[in-house]
């Protein structure tokens, strides 16, 4: 199984859960007095939110993710589906596991939300 990467960081552990990546059809059905008309505005990756979750992850991985967020810049996301995506990190959250000590080794319920800016390749 391919290992995912975000920016320059290759995940030490692939996430335990992630939104399915596929283009979304932007459609608006208009119900009229006599029936229905369909409006399609195209098929887009851009604007999709991708939630990446780890039930548990090492603190080292957590810190790498924090570092990526702190970069405050667009990243290339390579999920291993054959495409690469330009993404922005919208949020990164997690919970302490067992203790808050700096020597702690794990975090739990880590969730990172990405937004696809465009399909890079």
């Amino acid at each position: 199984m391919a290992t995912m990467s975000l920016g320059t960081y290759t995940f030490a552990h692939n996430p335990s859960d992630m939104t399915m990546l596929k283009p979304r059809r932007i459609i608006h059905p208009a119900e009229t007095i006599g029936g229905v008309e369909f409006f399609s505005f195209g098929v887009f990756y851009a604007g999709q939110k991708v939630t990446v979750k780890w039930n548990y992850c090492p603190v080292a991985v957590w810190l790498e993710l924090v570092s990526l967020e702190d970069d405050d810049a667009s990243k290339v996301f390579t999920p291993g589906d054959g495409h690469t995506y330009n993404v922005q990190i919208l949020s990164l959250n997690g919970e302490y596991f067992a203790d808050t000590d700096t020597g702690a080794t794990w975090r739990k319920n880590v969730e990172m939300v990405l937004m696809i800016e465009s399909l890079a390749s």
Binding site: I26, T32, I33, V36, E37, F39, G47
Partner: protein, 1250 residues
Amino acid sequence: MSVTLDATLKSALDGLNHHPICKIVSTSLASDIPFDGQLFNSQTADETDPDMLVHSTGRLASTFVRSGDLYLMYSDEARTTWYEVRIFDNAGISGFSVINASLIELSNANIGVVFLARSATYDRLYSMIIGPIGTVVSAASQIVQETLTSVSLGALSLCETATGFLLAYKYRDVAASPDNYYLYKRTCNTSFASWSSASSITLTGLISTRDKDHPELFRNQAGAIYLFFDYLDDYVDPNERRNIFYVISSDEGATWTIPAALTSYGDFSASAVSPSVSEKTNGDIVIAYHAQISVLKIGSSTTGYCTSSGETTDNHITDIFYIASSNKVYIVGGAAATNTDALLRVLVIDVATWTIEKCYKQDGSPGWNARWSSDGMNYTQQATAAGDYLAIISKSRDIILINTQTDTIVEYHLQSSALYGYTKNVSGFTLGVYHDYCQIYLDATTDRLYLFFHGEYATAEKYQLCWIDITETADPITGLYTIHELIAPTYYPTGGSIAYDHDATIHFNLTEDKVVFSVRGWTAGAKGFVRVHVLSTGSLYKTYIIDTNVGFPRRGIMWTVLHNDMLYGNVEYESGYGQEERRGLCLINMSSDTITFERPTVATVNDYGLADLRVVDSGINILMASYYGVLFYSIVDKTWNVFNNDNVQGMFTDAEDFVPRLAYNESTGMVFTSHCYLQSYPYDKNFIAFVTTGNMSLGKYIPATLSGGSYSFGTESDLHLYRGGENLTIAYDANNVLWNIWTQVDTSLEKSLMWDRDNFNPDISDYILAGSAVTLNWEVGKTAKASFTLSRADLFDVSNSMSIYAPIFKKGRIVEVSLGETIGGVDYWQAQGQFVVCATRVDYRRTAHPVIEIESEDRSVMWSEMMVTATTGYRNAALSDIMDDILQDIAGLTVADYSIPSLTNGHTLYIQWIDTDLAAIIEDICQHFGVFAHWQVDGTWTLVPIDLDAAVAHDYTTAQSKILNFGPDDRYSSFINQIRVICEGQDFLEVLWDEERITQLSGVVGFWTKQETHTVYYSDDRARTVRYPRLDIIQSINDFSPLISLLGGQGDEYIQSTAEDETYCIVKIEAPNRAIYAFAFAAAIAGFGAAALYCEVRFYCGVSIMLTNLALSAFIQVVTAVANFKYDIWGQPIGHEKQTYQATADDTELQQQLGGQVVSQHFNDALSYTVAHCQMVADQEIAVVSAQRNRITFDKVAHLQDEIGDIIKISHPISSQAVDVFVAKLKRSFVRPPIGGQGQFSDGIEGWRL
């Protein structure tokens, strides 16, 4: 009148499945070139010497110098935003400052830079390599160092060669005598690291001691290297002229052709310098440069110059005014050789573009009375200007007042002229002998035109100050303007005839509340004087004359100005009076009454011809014209500064320096003058302008077409709109967009970089915010509107100067909106019209993405703000001709911008619109003809009939799936069920006005009067007609008069008859005949007197004497008895009015429903002249009012065929009955939904059910 769509697009819109698309393009009504420019920032440090390229990534990159450091200004790859980074800090080479630089892209996409740094002792060339965004890849490395005592270096340029790079730079050998100037070259390999030794470029035929500067290298697609540079090709100390030259190398810079001139500036008034070259993708090039202009000229061959029929075209100039608020110059032209002092023209010059904006002339429109022209002998005496107004007074004391904003002219006549067909039109003023001359002054703050009258004859040496309110309109009854007196006629302080024959000037100082009269005598024995009055009260403040001020010049001073209680005026010296020290400029300290003199240092002569004095530069200097050029006298340090042929390059085409009039722009230091004033003056007749500081450079460009391996050079055009630029650089990007960066020098001499580009018509559709609506609104009788919301407000924010997109939504830019569908992968578009950006709104906050809301309206949005003082008075004019005038002359449209249909109810018009706005004029036309104004989707304006009987344009009854909702809604309708239209015909009817007092008659009758008659005209000009005159006796001859009471009898007073033409009546006064009494008493005196003379008997003597006395007493009483009379003559003035017509139209159905109640609305229609016209308008109006009661609204799927004014057919949602709807309002919405959100592509209709 629905929109004709592409068949494929129409088919898709008719279907059920849609792929709607939206495109918004920003464009401009004005052409992109000449560039007006955008600043990068508001920094105050000078930014100079830009050199630009377009990087292979698409980025723009330009080096420039700020505070001795070298910077890179670059853009992102999409060229939307500027960024700057310092790439070389001069702190690294102590004592040196970067002077200029050149850059070039290397094969590895890095950028090579060569720059010149200078210290007090040395010039050094450095090279360095940076990345595309300025990251230093290879630090600066010295190429060469020159000692300034031997060699100085200058501007430089880089280009590619087959094997590396070529560098050219200016090389000045200062060790030679005189200095020698060269262009040197060095080569370098592709590493941009190893530079060859220098050698000079052979420029055969050019003089080595003449400067060669600003080399610009360019290697074209065929491999030929061009070197452009500016060369000092003519020099006559101190004047210099430069032109752009070029040489070509076909061997990578080893050898060069003989230099050829690109530009051909022919005199010393302008030079071409600092070329920059860029190549389009097709191989054509553009060479841009700055025209260094020392003098701007306007003459009789300048476009826009005008001359009345039969007049001379000579550009004689009598007065010049600069108007700061509008940056315009007014020039009064006259004083032709064959036509003494006629007023030939008034020019309005737009200083920014240096073009003639307007030219008024006698037979122009508007024009002035023929008396001002050739044989009128009504010579122009003096002019004054302020704001939009220019006033000129003639020797005959006629005044014209030109409003240059509204293009109207008012003429004030202080006396009548039968020959020229005008009558006196001012009141409160009677021309007297002391009104022989007049000077005028306009005060824009109080809207007053001051008139300073002064006489020259021995019996009339008085002056008087009056004023006219220039905003006042003439009295509607009398046609008179009012003249107000401020200073009553006042005798000269000279007394007697000593001021006989004189000149005079007037000066107003509103800040110090003073008016200064300067009178200079110019015949033997005449003494001059200066009088200063307090303006607000008219009281006398000071008098200066030699009789009481021994230091004052005998002949007086002229052109006197006042500043800080000091007077400054010109002395015209006259020998023989021991006043040798009284020459030049006279200074009078009014606090101490001390009088001193300052002589201009430009020459030592008796007379300097100082004239047109004015206090300038915030009170620091006195500016004046003179025989020796333009003079500045420093009030502060008492020094003189002169500008003439000796130091203003190409000022005049002759050696004469005399300038009699001038004007001045303080903020730019620009002086406007001419030395053409006197009749038959043989010298340069151009009107000129020059700046005392800074420059008037203007960016220019020459396009060159590649043909057969060489270039065919085109003609020169303006690259920049505004003057004051230098060191421009240009570059074409891959889309053949021309980019330009230059240094702009402002009035404080601060140098700031500016940029601009052409083809600035970006498609910003990608920025439309998903989930927000692009909305288009059309409504009958209103301007069409388009609004939308964009993301990345930081890009479009007009206040973000580092955004390249910042200018595209400036107020007044154009937005073009298109909608369509993607069909089979192909986009099909239908334009929705052009809209003017009216407002933008941005809200930055940390918690939200910045978005910008754009509101725009069609081009008629500004018509309600376009005031029209008066249109042409149209008589029997076709609507299309009127619309041509209005749309082209007022709205500024071209023929291609509009189309006027032939209306079925059309007819010719008799109309003149006065004091209204353009929107109101269009509304008048629309209401009369039952049409609405409409900007069509193709961007043209037209009139669309409101035809409620037209054929159905779009039938939706078979496509019920298009209707989203349906809602009859007549909330906004009224109960009006009758329209009455009233108009005036073209025929005049005689009318009688209400009785009024016409005039008065008064006098006295005595014993001699038996009867007398008085002819009483109803007006001074004997033209007024009055009917039914009657006498209102205020005082009768019967009232308390000795004539009647003493001797009895009865007088009679009455109107005996009236004139056949009703212009006068004859009043008859009949009194008792008293002459018989006088005769009888005289005879009694004689008889009794004779008896008394020869009387010898005491008694009889006594009786005779007594009777003589009694008779004498009675005689005296008879001959001294008189009776006064005073009558008012009343009558009904006769006038003429146009006949009134009217017609009504009824909504009988509603009247019936209301039980016969008629709710009527009346209005006057200025475009109707007959009952038929009124009926037509009334029928149209009642149809609309009735239709509005059947208002329905519904939304449907958008169909780009539909537009307002169409009749469309839909089915009632319940009954399925067909309903025809006139589309009165259409709101079209496009929403591209965000993921998971709602989209929209619909038409909201408000219409009238028919």
